[in-house]
């Protein structure tokens, strides 16, 4: 009963917003808008990422913003495509104008093959943007020292990666994620590489505050069913963390009484 009450009020608070769902989602790679909206709904996500790009005047993209707003989503624009701090700051200012939010997923990846975040440029940009009133959630390598620097710079959360973006390889950085979670005074959102609900559950069991999933839902055989599976996994992982996992030991500890009943008498 106490645990149930604890779970009901288990809200994640980042800056000025509070979230019931600890599953954040991306909007990329879905086959069509209808599938994306149905999947996001099934995920029960309350925060979705978006990108910004120069409009191709001959081949315009669909307006995906209107249906997201209609469905009550909070928007988290990213700075994808920025290769250094200067470009990220410009992208952040454009995103704030476009989406009328000061929330920002700061991501700077100069290398298109691995899309690994540039720690130096990310910290540089975070320091400037924090002073400009942005609520910054930086996408970073699972580097505990960098995460503390970003916390000091005024970031609202940190988003360390589990594995390269879109790789679906899971928590390859597990040991370092544990250190980040242990040391952080701001929410830790495990981003990138989460390829299955079990990866998401593991991150939550470890004490991550949330996870961000995109590719694993969008390119699944059935994106809507997979999104629902992720929602359940994140909830289960969080509940397990709150319940307190039983510790591991190297020797057997009997679950049944070992009284020698055959000889009893």
């Amino acid at each position: 009963m106490i645990n149930n009450l604890k779970n009901i009020h288990d809200q994640l608070i980042i800056a000025d917003k509070s979230f019931s769902s600890r599953l954040f989602t991306g909007t990329g790679k879905f086959n069509d808008q209808q599938t994306m909206l149905a999947a996001l709904k099934a995920s029960r996500s309350e925060l979705v990422t978006m990108a910004l790009k120069r409009v191709d005047m001959q081949n315009k993209d669909d307006d995906i913003l209107a249906p997201l707003i209609k469905n009550g989503m909070n928007l988290l624009p990213n700075t994808s495509g920025a290769r250094n701090a200067k470009e990220a700051i410009y992208a952040a200012q454009l995103a704030r104008e476009a989406l009328q939010t000061n929330w920002l997923k700061l991501e700077i990846h100069p290398d298109p093959k691995y899309l690994l975040p540039d720690p130096i440029e990310t910290l540089k940009a975070a320091e400037v943007l924090a002073n400009d009133g942005f609520v910054i959630l930086p996408y970073v390598h699972a580097d505990p020292v960098l995460c503390k620097h970003l916390e000091s710079a005024g970031c609202a959360a940190v988003m360390p990666l589990g594995a390269p973006i879109g790789s679906n390889k899971g928590l390859k950085t597990l040991d370092f994620l544990e250190i980040i979670i242990e040391q952080a005074n701001i929410p830790v959102i495990v981003d990138a590489g989460i390829g299955s609900p079990s990866h998401a559950a593991l991150a939550m069991e470890m004490g991550a505050d949330a996870v961000l999933v995109n590719t694993a839902m969008a390119v699944a055989g059935d994106p809507v069913a997979m999104s629902e599976a992720f929602a359940k996994a994140v909830q289960a992982g969080r509940q397990a963390y709150l319940a307190g996992l039983a510790g591991q030991v190297n020797h057997a500890v009997a679950s049944s009484p070992l009284t020698a009943f055959l000889e009893a008498g």
Binding site: K29, L52, L65
Partner: protein, 66 residues
């Protein structure tokens, strides 16, 4: 007069504002951001900001992304 929207030459009437340009291009106002000659113009100024001949306009739009 002519302006360049994402490098594309576009004819607009004299005194055309940013808001009028977006309507002309049938671009959604929501989810868009504009820079004129590399300077970002805040949405609150769009209805008054008059464009000049030869202005380089960068038009950005929110799209799907992770």
């Amino acid at each position: 007069m002519n302006v360049f929207v994402n490098e594309r030459k576009t004819e607009i009437p004299q005194g055309c504002t940013i808001e009028a340009l977006l309507n002309l291009l049938e671009s959604p106002l929501k989810g868009s951001a504009i820079a004129v000659n590399q300077s970002i113009v805040s949405r609150s100024q769009w209805s008054e900001y008059k464009l000049n001949d030869g202005d380089q306009i960068s038009l950005f739009q929110a799209i799907a992304g992770g």
